[in-house]
């Protein structure tokens, strides 16, 4: 299975702190993406990193990818209460299918 697995399962931090979430996967990939899901809502694309990239930034987001360890991390800097959501990594091997991990529930307390 290509499935990504995130850790931690749940993370609770204070506003202004950084949040780091990790994702591991099992097979070779073409790209890895991170999505956010607010409670009961759809998935919002955050950032995509390709298999030949090691790090990518977008605003307060920083993603790293280590293909030798088959792992990725998502760092959210200076977190805000509005960042409270579930975060999922999803891998794409070839073709269209995204394989999602179980997700990390992030709670940012104000």
């Amino acid at each position: 299975s290509q499935q990504g697995e995130e850790d931690p399962q749940a993370l609770s931090i204070q506003e202004g702190e950084n949040a780091t979430m990790n994702c591991s996967y099992k097979t070779s990939i073409n790209n890895l993406q991170w999505y956010r899901q607010n409670s009961g809502r759809g998935l919002v694309h955050l950032i995509l990193i390709r298999s030949n990239e090691r790090e990518k930034h977008s605003g307060r987001l920083r993603v790293t990818l280590d293909t030798s360890k088959k792992s990725s991390s998502l760092l959210i800097t200076a977190s805000r209460a509005a960042d409270t959501a579930s975060y999922f990594c999803a891998t794409a091997r070839y073709g269209n299918k995204l394989v999602f991990g179980a997700g990390t529930i992030l709670r940012v307390k104000s």
């Binding site: 759809g42 998935l43 919002v44 694309h45 299918k97 179980a102």
Partner: protein, 117 residues
């Protein structure tokens, strides 16, 4: 900003009934997908659709499921005879094609919650 829209937001049905979940993908997108998320579980891929045919499907997508693009804007998922275990949130997604190259980012709708009683 363009978005994927799904209707209805919540569908309640009796076991054995047929349901059709509807999606309007982003207008210039050519790749369409259905995923589902059973409560408390991972988001799972069901099927992808391109050029009026299924391009990939998962083991979940058995003969009870079908997809259709009945016109230039809608993309539907039909479940022929619903089972209790079909209760889940169903997400539609679409992605762009630029010059014959598929863009990898998928844009998701807000989902339809299907409750099978």
């Amino acid at each position: 900003e363009p978005e994927v829209t799904q209707t209805p937001s919540h569908q309640v049905t009796q076991m054995g009934q047929e349901v059709i979940l509807r999606c309007v993908p982003i207008s210039n997108h050519l790749y369409f997908y259905w995923y589902r998320q059973i409560l408390g579980q991972k988001v799972e891929f069901l099927v992808s659709f391109y050029n009026n045919e299924i391009s990939e499907k998962s083991e979940i997508f058995d003969d009870q499921f079908s997809v259709e693009r009945p016109d230039g804007s809608n993309f539907t998922l039909k479940i022929r005879s619903t089972k209790l275990e079909d209760s889940a949130m169903y997400f539609c997604a679409s992605s762009e094609d630029t010059g014959g190259i598929r863009v990898d980012i998928q844009y998701f709708g807000a989902g339809t919650r299907l409750s099978v009683l």
